[in-house]
Amino acid sequence: MARNRSFLRIGETAVPGKSRLFLFFSLAPAFAFILFFGIYPFLFACFYSVRSFYFGLNVDNVFTGMSNYHNSVIDPLFQYSMFVTLVFVIVSVGLQLLIGVGAAILFSVIKTKAYKYIQVFLSLPLMMPPVVTGFLWWYLFNTDLGIVNYYLSYFGIMPRNVNLLANPITALASIIYADVWMWTPFIMIVTYAAIQSIPNDVMEAAIIDGAKDRHLIRKIILPRIKTALLVVLLIRVIDAFRTYDLVYVLTGGGPGTSTQVASLEIYNTAFLKWFLGQSFAQALMLTAILILVGNILIYLLRRGV
């Protein structure tokens, strides 16, 4: 019975010699990469996050305990960047969820055959390189040339010469707007697919039972796509926490530091102050948040979507 606990199995069975060799060689290259490019940087960051490590500057690289962490936490700039990130994540992902799920339900309830083609059009923003997206919106929000300003003033919503990216509130709103533009299709498409994966039988049975659209949505559709929704939500939350490129291009963190999200703040600590030690500390704190969210996601994935 001891062999029952064998480490290596094919399907339900312990792996015999030659198969074991193949298993090793199948995993080895990938793990060589992941260990080196995943684990090494992480350990490196951990090690230097507790040292006064300045890159290229003539500063003593010494152990400083938790002071990098401490200084980051009490740094108003870092605090503010975490706050902006949080606002960005909540508002942006919230809007995406609202519009995306709504559109997905609409399309599934009307059962249009054209969805296939509609999806192609709606998925385009998703495929754009983020930098191009950032640029595009930078152009669209441009005071003199952008169509956003033009049409907003055309319909009398605001004067033409307001620079939306120059005001802390509207700048953040603009970033959120662009992010919603970019990621809502993701939520919509995934939700739509989740709804489609509800067995046809179940939907038809409910229809035969006399269910109307609102019953279908409330009693059949929503309960069955719960988990899938949570998964996309978490993926979005994690990615939104890491957002870098869009903000970098659109506002560069400005005006001032008003849209300085966490990734940008860390980047600046590293490449403006060249204080890599502190930037590691900040990065690891961000990682900690992501690990927390990620673990919930992993728990859900393990339970099965």
Binding site: D201, A206, I207, K212
Partner: protein
């Protein structure tokens, strides 16, 4: 309590990819009498489920009309037809309790709470589900699931009950059990039931009338006995019965003013068919059909019997199934079903087959249609 009338119902599926059309059902015309169970029987892909879905209103037919009594329902949505449908794989709403499952059809209609409670209780009682009403419907055995689905179907007392192979996904034991249950329910409910299945014993036991389908066409719509005794086409002859009819090529021959059927490739077997010569003369080629259970075997030669070699003997408790190698065409193996006895032929033994005249059916080879029933 309505009669369902299908008038020349047809369904064509268009595949946008290959610009190809698949004819699923063609010219289905039949009347399903009220308060009876009608079976639609056929191999998979014969169009039986398509027909059922058209009656349910899930996919309207591409041609023809469907009436419930005199009302044209061809294009009505399911909700307005008052028909219930049971799927092959039982559908339960597994995020709800059993109670909520049963209550669902009433709830969406906006029936009063008290009335719902009462009817759910009644239905649960009737089907023996009372003790699990509070359970989540998830993870119950398939047999129970199908019962819940059945409960959901009958709780709103539908006029028409449609069943799409509801038993085929169950294990044999619960299948037998649920089959009897189903029979009770249908009898006590006064509803017109349409039962789709590929399993002939299910159709034969449950249904008052059966429509046998193949490749979109109805081959025969008749009582189970007639379908068994006088199959309308060679397909029905082959499909019904376990095993189905032996189908043997023959030719019509004339001698001294009399007409005989002779089996191709066998010289000394013939049957007098003078009485039907007018009908048979119209056929280019004739197929003789005889059920394995009606063939008699002897070890010694008798007049008008056919020689064969026994290839396979399978004994089945009370009877045996023999595969006999003969010179017949198109298939040189004739199946014989015979009661188990001590002088059963052995493998490789030569035996003689005799076809009792009254069980012989003659078909037209080209159209496959039944031409002559040799009973008098």
């Amino acid at each position: 309590m309505v009669k369902v009338v299908l008038e020349n119902v047809g369904k064509v599926f268009k595949s946008s990819k290959e610009a190809k059309e698949t004819i699923a059902v063609k010219g289905f015309t039949a009347e399903f009498p009220s308060n009876k169970v009608v079976g639609i029987l056929g191999p998979s892909g014969c169009g039986k489920t398509t027909t059922l879905r058209a009656i349910a209103g899930l996919d309207p037919p591409s041609e023809g009309k469907i009436y419930f009594d005199d009302k044209d329902v061809t294009y009505l949505p399911p909700i307005e037809r008052d028909a219930a449908l049971l799927f092959q794989f039982a559908v339960v709403y597994d995020n709800m309790t059993v109670f909520d499952n049963l209550a669902f059809p009433l709830m969406v209609k906006g029936v009063e709470k008290e009335e719902i409670n009462k009817r759910v209780k009644e239905t649960a009682e009737f089907l023996g589900l009372s003790n699990i009403l509070k359970k989540k419907a998830k993870g119950l055995p398939a047999g129970i699931n199908q019962k819940i689905a059945l409960g959901r179907a009958i709780i709103r007392k539908p006029k028409v009950l449609l069943l799409d192979e509801p038993l085929s996904s169950l294990d044999p034991e619960s299948r037998l059990y649920l089959r009897r249950e189903l029979k009770n329910v249908i009898r006590s409910m006064e509803t017109t039931a349409v039962y789709v299945t590929h399993d002939q014993s299910e159709a034969m036991t449950l249904c008052d009338k059966i429509a046998v389908m193949n490749e979109g066409k109805v081959h025969q719509y008749d009582t189970p006995e007639n379908i068994y005794m006088n199959p309308a086409t060679t397909f029905v002859a082959w499909f019904i019965g376990e095993p189905g009819m032996n189908l043997i090529d023959c030719s019509l021959e004339e001698s001294e003013g009399k007409y005989y059927i002779k089996i191709d490739g066998v010289s000394d077997v013939s049957f007098d068919v003078s009485k039907w010569s007018d009908i048979l003369k119209k056929s280019e080629k004739i197929v003789l059909g005889i059920r394995p259970e009606f063939i008699t075997i002897t070890k010694a030669y008798k007049k008008n019997s056919m020689k064969g070699k026994c290839l396979v003997v399978e004994s089945f408790g009370s009877f045996a199934l023999l595969d006999i190698l003969t010179n017949c065409s198109p298939n040189n193996i004739i199946k014989v079903k015979t009661p188990l006895s001590d002088d059963l032929p052995k493998v490789d033994e030569d035996i003689y087959l005799k076809f009792p005249t009254e069980y012989i059916r003659l078909f037209d080879k080209k159209s496959g249609e039944l031409r002559v029933v040799m009973t008098e």
